[in-house]
């Protein structure tokens, strides 16, 4: 666009008359006011659960929980393996349940 045309465009709002408010503006306004005063919550307030920010946060939390559960499942159960080894050691040295008193007395 040429500089002359740009100036023309920039001045195109000169002499612009103000847009009047729509017909029955006051009637619609008082109706809305009465509705809000009657205690009907606006639709936006009811649908906060559907807001994108909330939905995205909930989705991220769900994915995180899933990842944690999968990681937990795939990890080897070290506690069971350790218990087996201790029991085997106790059996080897005759220290199974009931033998402790005898060992100590000797």
């Amino acid at each position: 666009m040429s500089p002359k045309k740009i100036e023309e465009v920039l001045n195109s709002l000169d002499g612009c008359s103000p847009a009047p408010a729509p017909n029955f503006f006051y009637t619609r306004l008082t109706a809305k006011l009465a509705k809000e005063q009657a205690g009907t919550p606006p639709i936006q307030a009811q649908s906060w659960l559907l807001k994108p920010a909330f939905a995205l946060a909930a989705l991220c939390l769900l994915i995180l929980l899933n990842v944690l559960v999968v990681m937990q499942k795939t990890k080897p159960n070290t506690s069971a393996a350790t218990t087996d080894a201790i029991q085997a050691l106790a059996a080897d040295y005759s220290m199974a349940d009931g033998n402790f008193d005898y060992v100590l007395e000797r």
Binding site: S2, G15, P18, A19, Y26, P52, A53
Partner: protein, 187 residues
Amino acid sequence: MQEVALIERLKVGDEAAFKELVLTHQDKVYNTALGVVQNAADAEDVAQEVFIQVYRSIHQFKGESKLSTWLYRIATTRALDLLRSKKSKKRFGLLQRLLGEDNEPVYDVPDFNHPGVILDKKENAAKLWKAIKLLPYNQKAAFVLHKLEDLSYQQISEVLKTTVPAVESLMHRAKQNLRKSLEKQPE
């Protein structure tokens, strides 16, 4: 004096005073909102919200500024808030389509033109509105108040709660940005 009396009547919940306030200022509030949001339905919503806010918070009005300045301030703030919320909704466009209100897609209304523009300037004005849409919020508010509502820099500084030099700077940068945008548009 008349304004002080009107405010006092509003504070005691006088319905006739509220009607007088709305009928006196509805055009300037609607016109300001329309200039900022560039959509008739949104502008009407904004204008309604402005008067509802006035109705609820008239007790907080201390009379430090004129009533019209306060109305302009609420109108620009509300209109810019709507633009911000629309922008964030567009960012989450896909989710909005899946989960949004009424499951309607979010879209821009193309090629706005103000109803008060003189007929032979309509084509140029449409190009200007397109460029105004791209302005940063404060520059947009200052430009609209100056061009559409014919407010002086002093009045704009009171509406935007800033200084006159700051408004001059806003207007200068707004014009610079508009020129840059218009250079890219075809004749």
